[in-house]
């Protein structure tokens, strides 16, 4: 039995093993940076919907607004229509390449400082500390049997967590509606089911991921840590332990001379402060989110022992190798891959800017009526129906002149609109910021047609600017 080949005679290691992480409080440069990131990013997230931007009467005055019902997205002076959603693709490409760029340059700063998961975990751990104390106290209490005091502390923590989570969900919902009105509605019970639903959904995940899942999101759920290493090179900044200086490690005892032993005193402070619960002394690893809190922790210990800082440092592989040999440090920001990333970002950014500056304020869609394709009229001429759609992306009423070209002697009419110049000119009024559709009938003599398909052009001229849009379509007729 012991030699069962299927299990190799011993128990396999589990794929997933959960060990609760109790991050310890830490003070230092990177902790300050992280707090700054938390404050700035949360402020942007929660306050951005309240920014105003005047777009004139009748238009929403929210600077950043995604109006689902009205099918518009507003970003300051940019107004995006549904068919222009490819700008979102551009933004996502920029964000992705930006992430690669920053990673190549500075390592996992996104993971350690800017990611939602990091920001909210920081905030939630801070709230947890308020109710349950620092690492040791929390571990001790979790080991004790359930008591009223323990329950109250846990409940209090969860209430504050839930409040923060719901506010986070609310902030999300506010990007889709008027923020001031939205806040009023939510607190007076008037908000839509969607708003409350998103508060609970978004907030629920916030509570779950930042409150309970925490580092497991980074280790097991997030795809980014799995492939971000591809962006690294020997000049990227990573959090590393200088083994050549730290080893052999050991507890400090009176009389030890640091010249004869490693500088690591094995205090495990770097492990205790780590939000993902890893030991950085084992080398660079997937679970390290690059937050550099262990750098702060180790520096405080080095200071206490009067040893040089930087046993754990936020540094590049090359730089550390140089230091180990006593060479001067070198920082290379301009490298093949950083140049490449900047070039791609510049290219995508320029394309977006160019299309944004040159985008047309009018768009024409013409649908040729397909049933019937054409009809023969009593005088023998052929008539085709078209649904003519004009998108007016400007916030003022505009008039367009519609004319025909391509079929000799063709005339047309539109339901509900007068025709001018013997049926060769129609003036189309289009309301501001709207799509207007017109039913247009084009009639042509049969001998003017080229057969089953004749090319036909609609010429749409803006009466104010004189700009003409030519829309090519076809005119169907019987076989000649």
């Amino acid at each position: 039995m012991n030699s069962d080949p299927a299990c190799g005679g011993k128990r396999k290691q589990a794929l997933y093993e959960y060990k609760k992480v109790y991050p310890r409080k830490v003070y230092g440069t990177f902790r300050k940076l992280k707090w700054a990131a938390v404050v700035v990013l949360l402020a942007i997230w929660h306050l951005a919907p309240f920014l105003r931007w005047d777009r004139g009467p009748g238009a929403p005055d929210q600077a950043i607004l995604i109006d689902m019902a009205g099918r518009r997205a507003y970003l300051y002076n940019i107004e995006i229509w549904p068919q222009e959603v490819y700008y979102l693709t551009g933004l996502l490409i920029l964000a992705a390449i930006g992430l690669f760029f920053v990673t190549a340059l500075l390592g996992r700063v996104w993971c350690g400082f800017a990611c939602w998961q990091t920001v909210y975990t920081d905030l939630f751990v801070w709230i947890e500390e308020l109710f349950e104390g620092d690492r040791n106290e929390r571990m001790k209490r979790d080991g004790q049997p359930t008591s009223v005091g323990k329950l109250l502390r846990k409940a209090g923590k969860n209430v504050v967590w839930a409040a923060v989570s719901l506010l986070t969900g609310l902030a999300f919902a506010l990007y889709f509606q008027d923020a001031y009105q939205g806040v009023r509605d939510v607190f007076t019970g008037q908000a839509s089911k969607a708003t409350y639903g998103f508060m609970v959904l978004f907030g629920g995940f916030c509570w779950l991921l930042a409150g309970y899942a925490r580092e497991q999101v980074c280790i097991y759920m997030c795809p980014w840590p799995r492939f971000q290493a591809a962006m690294f090179d020997e000049d990227s900044l990573v959090v590393s332990y200088e083994g050549w200086r730290g080893e052999p490690r050991g507890h400090y005892k009176k009389g030890h001379d640091f010249a004869e032993r490693g500088h690591c005193v094995d205090c495990r402070l770097c492990v205790h402060v780590c939000p993902t619960g890893i030991d950085i002394r084992n080398g660079s690893q997937l679970a390290c989110i690059g937050c550099a809190l262990c750098v702060d922790a180790c520096n405080s210990v080095m200071d206490r022992f009067g040893l040089p800082r930087g046993l754990i440092s936020y540094d590049s592989v090359d730089n550390m190798a140089a230091r180990s040999k006593g060479l001067p440090p070198r920082i290379r920001l301009i490298r093949g891959r950083t140049i490449g990333y900047v070039a791609i970002m510049g290219l995508v950014g320029s394309i977006m800017l160019y299309t944004l500056l040159n985008r047309s304020t009018t768009e024409v869609n013409v649908l040729h009526e397909r049933s019937p394709l054409y009809v023969t009229l009593s005088d023998g001429s052929i008539r085709n129906g078209y649904v003519f759609k004009v998108l007016n992306m400007v916030r003022e009423t505009r008039s367009f002149e519609l004319k025909l070209a391509g079929v000799e002697g063709a005339t047309f009419s539109a339901i509900g609109l007068p025709t001018e110049q013997d049926g060769t000119r129609i003036v189309l009024p289009v309301a501001p910021d709207a799509v207007a559709d017109f039913q247009v009938f084009v009639t042509a003599r049969r001998d003017a047609l080229a057969g089953k398909r004749t090319d036909l052009q609609f010429l749409l001229t803006d009466l104010e600017t004189g700009k003409t849009i030519v829309h090519k379509t076809m005119f169907a007729g019987p076989e000649q």
Binding site: R11, P372, T376, S378, R383, G416
Partner: protein
């Protein structure tokens, strides 16, 4: 009862305590979360029995205290839709078809509503978009057998053609061949004349005379037709039953007549008005 529970040295798990011919089984209980979910589902099932329709009975099924049924939900939704349309419906009821067509807002709604109702009720015969078919007039062209004004179209849709409704359009062509009103030769001459007429040409003397005597009363001196009698125009290329000589001979000998239901008997007044505005918009009417 399980009495002989042992610890298995290999896995570290306990056995069930049972032994069958020397075979012992490891006690691997269901995960706790699974058991709790199972209990919760059981409770939920009991709740569903009480609240929702659940058990068949001899004469139906238990209704549950909420009395829920999908049919009832549908009825509620339909009532809500009806309620939401009420404003428009009353406006359509109050306005004439001409008023609806002249008001851009009402016209837009009427055409949208008419399009949907047309697809459901009219398109099976007249084709989508009023494309027409053999024996079913094209509604997108400019020939209107019973008149192409808004009022005419509305009248035709509301009361139909050649049906039992007292206000129905009536009009029958004589059976010139079957009833012996004309000889086959004469029918041939008349058909020749009509073919020429439809091409804008002049027919021969015999045909001209025949037409003037027998046909012009209904179809008009120059074949322009007469909407009041439902006599179609013959001076164009638009034909309900095709326009070749043979087709015309058949039609003159023993005429075919289509009919159409009185839609006012099936649809409400507002819908019939919307349909009229939509159909009129298909080809611009007359």
């Amino acid at each position: 009862m399980a009495t002989n529970v042992e610890k298995d040295p290999v896995t570290g798990q306990y056995t069930t305590g049972h032994e069958w011919d020397g075979i012992k089984e490891l006690n691997t209980p269901l995960p706790k979360w699974w058991v709790y979910v199972f209990y919760a589902c059981t409770l939920w099932a009991i709740y569903e029995w009480v609240v929702m329709p659940a058990w068949p009975t001899a004469d139906g099924y238990t209704k549950g205290i909420e009395g829920y049924s999908t049919r009832g939900e549908l009825a509620k939704e339909l009532a809500a839709v009806k309620e939401s349309r009420k404003g428009w419906i009353t406006r359509f009821e109050a306005a004439s078809v001409e008023q609806i067509a002249a008001d851009p807002e009402l016209r837009k709604y009427a055409i949208a509503g008419g399009r949907a109702m047309f697809a459901e009720n009219c398109a099976p015969c007249h084709g989508s978009g009023g494309a027409g078919a053999y024996g079913y007039p094209t509604l997108a062209d400019d020939e209107w057998i019973w008149g192409g004004s808004l009022a005419d179209v509305h009248q035709t849709i509301a009361y139909g053609v050649r049906n039992t409704n007292p206000q129905s359009r009536q009009g029958i062509m004589l059976r010139f061949g079957v009833d012996g009103l004309l000889t086959p030769d004469q029918i041939g001459q008349a058909a020749d004349y009509v073919v020429a007429l439809s091409k804008g040409e002049k027919g021969d003397a015999a045909g001209t005379e025949l037409y003037a005597q027998q046909c012009a009363a209904c179809h008009g001196e120059s074949g322009e037709g007469m909407a009041a009698l439902g006599a179609p125009a013959l001076n164009n290329g638009i034909w309900l039953y095709k326009g070749g000589k043979e087709d015309l001979v058949k039609q003159i000998t023993n005429p075919k007549h289509g009919d159409m239901p009185a839609w006012a008997e099936r649809l409400d007044a507002a819908t019939v008005k919307q349909l009229a505005v939509y159909v009129h918009s298909l080809g611009g009417g007359k």
